[in-house]
Amino acid sequence: MAGILALLVEPFQYPFMLRALYAALIVGVATPVLGTYVVLRGMAFFGDALAHIILPGVVIAFLLGWPLVVGALAVGITAALLIGAISKHTDIKEDAAIGVVFAGAFALGVALISTQRSYAVDLAHILFGDVLGVSTADLWLMAGIAAVVLITIFAFYKEFLVLSFDPHLAATLRLPVGFLQNLLLVLLAAVLVLSIQAVGVALVLAMLVTPASTAYLLTRRLPVMMLYSAGMGVLSAVIGLLISFYWNVASGPAIVLVETAIFALVFVLAPGRGWLARWQTSREQRSASSYR
């Protein structure tokens, strides 16, 4: 028993591992909680696109020596508003508008990185995350952003609930639909920046949709779904970092793989909504109908 405990605790005696743990926990709570709205509103593609779109912001901030978050947030918010404007003022469908901005911004980001000598290393960090390289200053900033995001989600809980359930209802209740949608986009840009540090641009979508989708299979109440999402995010962060430490696997993919494994487990076993339960029900129905 003590041996197992030592295995669990030992890695986090290294300061870089402890910082990585804190970072992964911050990301593991904030991103999946916002992710519940992303899953419920069918915004997964948008979330993935936004993660790529903020790349040039991250790179420019890096080159100027600013906190990465600042650049990412500025570009993310601008792009989100730009996409809204394109689909509102032209006949272009929204997913196409997202695609145009997504590809253009990502190309700009990669082009900017390619001018640097440390191109390959930097690109790898940005694409797949570098949670082991998080500094104490980064941590404080991440914690601050996560706190603001969570407080905002809590403060606008009712309004976001109505907006996700039925935008038309939100409009008849005279809620400020446009403002709420833009606020959701800003929050999304903020958690993406957090997650990129941990798992990178390429895998950020997993933080956003996998824990929330897992939670969706387990409950039919929004607050519980948020709670389960956060729990799943935290669990995956810890287990993923341990796997990364002992088996020498890159930390970002390790965290995402744990999330995916939990999803697979729940998908098969979830009571009532899992694959096994559905198979059971349909078998019972079949045998019941054969008696008639």
Binding site: R41, G84, T172, L173, V177, F179, M225
Partner: protein, 280 residues
């Protein structure tokens, strides 16, 4: 993600308390309303006025502009040209209008219980940064009681029958303290007892002075169960009590070849053909 192309309330309007309106004006007054979607005419110079507490059926074939009319009254769609007045004011200022959604518009898998959905009707009244008070829960419970879904309050909305789901949305309208309730094809696909339950609730609403508008293409139901009928096919063909508005020549004009006129009790009607898809 679906961005709402509908009209959005500005933040500064949202921060003000919803205003009380004058009750001496008619609840719904529409003058010369014309709406185009791109080049397609949806509503063509529609003019009518409804006094308070009336139960009105809006009938017409599919694609006749019924939903468009409701969206404009609800204030979620801008009127193209013409004047729309709700209790004498522009629709957007009002929080007293409930628009019960068509079944197909609702995400029945959404993680919300019956009580959650009913409480949504109060979100605007509760106000920003506040949790529902004891009084708000009082409204919610009373609303669920009135439509008879109290026993189902913790169930997920997708687990209910079609009739129960409709009643949940009526409870939401009650919790909203709506004075105008718009319902889009609420009885489609419901069995007779469920339809009866809905009519009992509409009766209850009427006794409170609530104005109810129901869109339907069921002519016999409109004739038997409503005080007033608007016969709509882009143009407003008739507005009046059922016996007046549902005269055969009006119906022929409204439904085209899809109505066959037979002698009946209420008026000389009717066998209808619901496949009106071509009449748009």
């Amino acid at each position: 993600m679906t961005l709402v192309s509908e009209r959005s309330t500005r933040v500064q309007d949202f921060l003000r308390r919803p205003s009380e309106h004058a009750h001496d004006a008619d609840p719904i007054q529409i003058e010369d309303l014309t709406v185009h979607f791109n080049d397609v005419l949806a509503l063509d110079h529609v003019t009518f006025s409804l006094p308070g507490g009336l139960r009105t059926a809006v009938i017409g074939p599919n694609g006749a502009g019924k939903t468009t009319l409701f969206n404009i009254i609800a204030g979620t769609l801008a009127p193209g040209s013409g004047i729309v007045r709700i209790y004498g004011e522009k629709p957007r200022g009002h929080v007293c209008i409930a628009h019960v959604p068509q079944r197909s518009r609702v995400d029945w898998d959404f993680p919300a219980s019956v009580a959650d959905v009913v409480m949504m009707g109060r979100v605007r009244k509760i106000g920003l940064f506040r949790l529902p008070s004891r009084a708000d829960w009082g409204y919610v419970h009373e609303a669920m009681q009135r439509v008879g879904v109290n026993d189902l309050q913790n169930r997920q909305i997708g687990d209910l029958s079609g009739g129960q789901q409709q009643r949940v949305f009526l409870a939401q309208a009650l919790a909203q303290e709506a004075e105008i309730v718009l319902m889009d094809e609420p009885l489609t696909g419901l069995d007779l007892p469920s339809q009866e339950a809905i009519f009992n609730i509409l009766e209850d609403l009427k006794s409170n002075g609530t104005t109810v508008m129901v869109a339907t293409h069921d002519i016999s139901m409109a004739a038997e169960r409503f005080d007033h009928v608007l016969l709509l096919n882009h143009r407003l063909i008739a507005s009046g009590p059922p016996a007046e508005a549902l005269r055969p020549e009006m119906l022929l004009e409204g439904f085209g070849g899809h109505v066959h006129v037979l002698p009946g009790d209420v008026a000389d009607i009717l066998v209808t053909d619901d496949c009106c898809g071509g009449g748009e």
